[in-house]
């Protein structure tokens, strides 16, 4: 059929440049490193066994923690904004969404640099606070985990707002009206009605923020003062500095496994089947 002529080149391209390289990563994870950093082809589990060392579990744990904190903050900050947009007049919704997405489409480096400019000891924040007399000595904000989280939240907030908006927009207004009558406080209404209804959006948003945050390496590098090692830094370190490509590949594979596991879990959790338990 004519359709295959159209589909063919594209799918072939994706297959060749996406599937094949990732498979290569898998294959190399079983190889070994040469003395000066080349690849010695073999089939051995040394890399994976090495990764059992608590050091790597600790790095993964730290990365997960930072990514989780980022996700939660994005959720807390993004929810009101998404709700506001979802309830706004349809004409204004488009403009508001545009406003939210545009910063995202600008260069990530530039946005990270902006925070370096603001948070450093002689940066804007400290200068302002000193001038206003709020503090007497500059706060050391840059080169800390706090700065990294700020940078990550800033980078991925739009990723949270968009799915949340899509889900909230679909929430039936009549249900919300009914909830007003049934529940005394705004909080109860929010918690027991709106949030469960928006669950697919929340899960999607969390996923879209969590996964890239997990693999971040620029933000910890620039905003964290290279004081911490997240999974992304580790992969970059193994490939470009330690030149242990097989180990780097093994770490990448484990990361992929983790990411895919999370995606499957979130699809499962967001599916209609599991929502039956909540509906009452």
């Amino acid at each position: 059929m004519g359709a295959w002529w159209l589909l063919g080149p594209g799918l072939l391209w994706m297959g060749l440049l996406f599937v094949v390289p990732l498979s290569l990563v898998l294959v190399i994870s079983f190889a070994e490193r040469g003395t000066y950093g080349g690849i010695v082809w073999s089939f051995s589990l040394t890399n994976y066994l090495d990764l059992l060392h608590p050091l790597y579990a600790h790095i993964l744990g730290q990365s997960i923690l930072l990514a989780a904190v980022t996700t939660v903050l994005c959720l807390i900050m993004g929810f009101p904004l998404a709700y506001y947009i979802a309830r706004a007049a349809p004409r204004r919704q488009g403009v508001l969404l545009l406003l939210v997405m545009i910063p995202f489409w600008t260069n990530f480096l530039v946005r990270t640099y902006a925070w370096m400019f603001i948070l450093r000891t002689e940066g804007l924040l400290n200068t302002l606070l000193l001038k206003l007399g709020v503090i007497t000595a500059p706060i050391e904000l840059l080169y800390s985990n706090t700065a990294v989280v700020i940078g990550l939240v800033y980078g991925y907030l739009p990723f949270m707002v968009l799915p949340l908006y899509v889900a909230l927009e679909r929430v039936d207004r009549t249900l919300v009206e009914a909830a007003w009558d049934l529940y005394a406080t705004r909080w109860a209404m929010l918690w027991r009605v709106i949030v469960p209804l928006a669950r697919p959006g929340i899960m999607a948003g969390c996923l879209l923020v969590f996964i890239p945050s997990l693999g971040a390496f620029l933000t910890p590098d620039l905003l964290g003062g290279a004081r911490s090692m997240m999974v992304g830094n580790l992969i970059q370190h193994e490939f470009l500095i330690a030149r242990d490509w097989p180990l780097g590949a093994a770490i990448s594979c484990l990361l992929m496994l983790f990411v895919m596991g999370m995606m499957r879990w979130s699809f499962h959790a967001a599916s209609p089947g599991s929502r039956q338990e909540d509906a009452s």
């Binding site: 050091l55 730290q62 000891t121 003062g225 290279a226 500095i241």
Partner: protein, 351 residues
């Protein structure tokens, strides 16, 4: 119709982009040869290359890297097309051993005959036909004399709790471990696991005091007062001195790294003759002197000294006093022991 207006403006935009691109391409290449120069991000001085471009009618394209490991990784990764690269001494040794470096014709390098005495016939290239020293110096401590009251003379000052949060270390595993090992009285090229572990322990103790691990902008950190003690190469500290005159530089009494960045021609280069001429040009006494002045690093060419301004020549951060040499050590490759350093470095970063 609105859509036509949009299409028109898009076409104009496209034309504008293509025009700019075409302009850049023609001004850059127009039948000229290009020389690809792969060097450190702070070794770039366009005006220093202009003369060479003029003399030979070529365009020098500069790409940069920020660490020796990145250089090797890119080259091992099969990046061909670079002509001249600037690895540090121990990395040059690895590259020679790996067969990545072309042998040079000594007759085309008259300027290499007048290298500084201690830089001639280096152990990893005794015939001096593979790697030619270009710039050299030391690794030490840059400090703000207005804040650090007593003149530091030992690496131990970087562990001084009085300066918590105001210390920066290089983001370079060999250099950082090198400093600790020297402070413990050991060689920075040790392969002894016990010594490496001990060094790691000392670094873990230090970590809470360290503001950042920075290999590139510690001069800014010094100049802005973010840090008062910075582990670093002399050149950037000299740059910081320009912004904040109270900054000084010292090589601790336990000794430290003696480094020399070398010019090599890559074996995969299609323009080896031009590349060799480029190396000879960079070592020309006046060019070398201007380089020292501009980049704030000491030139490897002794013949450049008469042309270097005294404020550069007398600055110990730029031109190390030759009496320091006995306590300095060349960094060499540690072979398989690198894995131990890697693991220790990762552990340090992780905590």
């Amino acid at each position: 119709m609105c859509i036509n207006g949009i299409r028109l403006s898009l076409c104009l935009l496209m034309l504008l982009f293509w025009g700019t691109v075409a302009c850049q391409r023609t001004s850059g290449d127009a039948g000229q040869k290009t020389l690809h120069y792969f060097t450190w991000s702070d070794y770039v001085g366009p005006e220093l290359l202009a003369e060479f471009e003029r003399r030979h009618g070529v365009h020098v394209v500069v790409d940069t890297f920020s660490s020796n490991e990145e250089l090797l990784a890119k080259l091992q990764g099969g990046a061909t097309g670079y002509d001249v690269a600037v690895p540090s001494d121990f990395m040059a040794a690895i590259m020679i051993q790996q067969g990545l470096v072309a042998e040079l014709d000594a007759t085309m390098l008259p300027n290499a005959a007048t290298l500084e005495d201690h830089l001639q016939h280096l152990p990893f290239d005794p015939t001096q036909r593979f790697a030619i020293p270009y710039l050299w110096g030391t690794v030490g401590i840059g400090y703000d004399s207005a804040v650090v009251s007593t003149t530091p003379d030992s690496w131990a000052v970087l562990w001084d709790a009085r300066y918590t949060g105001k210390i920066s270390m290089l983001n370079d595993q060999r250099e950082v471990f090198g400093a600790v090992l020297r402070s413990m009285g050991a060689s920075m090229n040790t392969r002894d696991p016990a010594l490496i572990e001990a060094a790691k322990a000392r670094l873990l103790v230090q970590k809470p005091l360290v503001k950042a691990y920075a290999s590139e902008h510690y001069d800014q950190l010094l100049a802005s007062g973010d840090v008062v003690l910075a582990h670093g190469w002399g050149g950037p500290v000299a740059r910081a001195m320009l912004d904040r005159p109270s900054i000084r530089y010292v090589v601790p009494k336990e000794g430290g790294t003696l480094w020399a960045d070398c010019l090599v021609v890559l074996k995969s280069s299609p323009r080896k003759e031009l590349a060799t001429q480029f190396i000879n040009y960079l070592l020309e006494p006046q060019v070398a002197a201007r380089t020292a002045e501009r980049l704030l690093f000491a030139s490897a060419n002794k013949a450049a000294r008469p042309f270097v301004p005294s404020r550069i020549l007398d600055n110990p951060a730029i031109y190390p006093p030759l009496d320091l040499l006995p306590r300095l050590e060349w960094m060499t490759d540690v072979g398989a022991a690198l894995r131990m350093y890697d693991r220790a470095w990762t552990e340090l970063k992780m905590h």
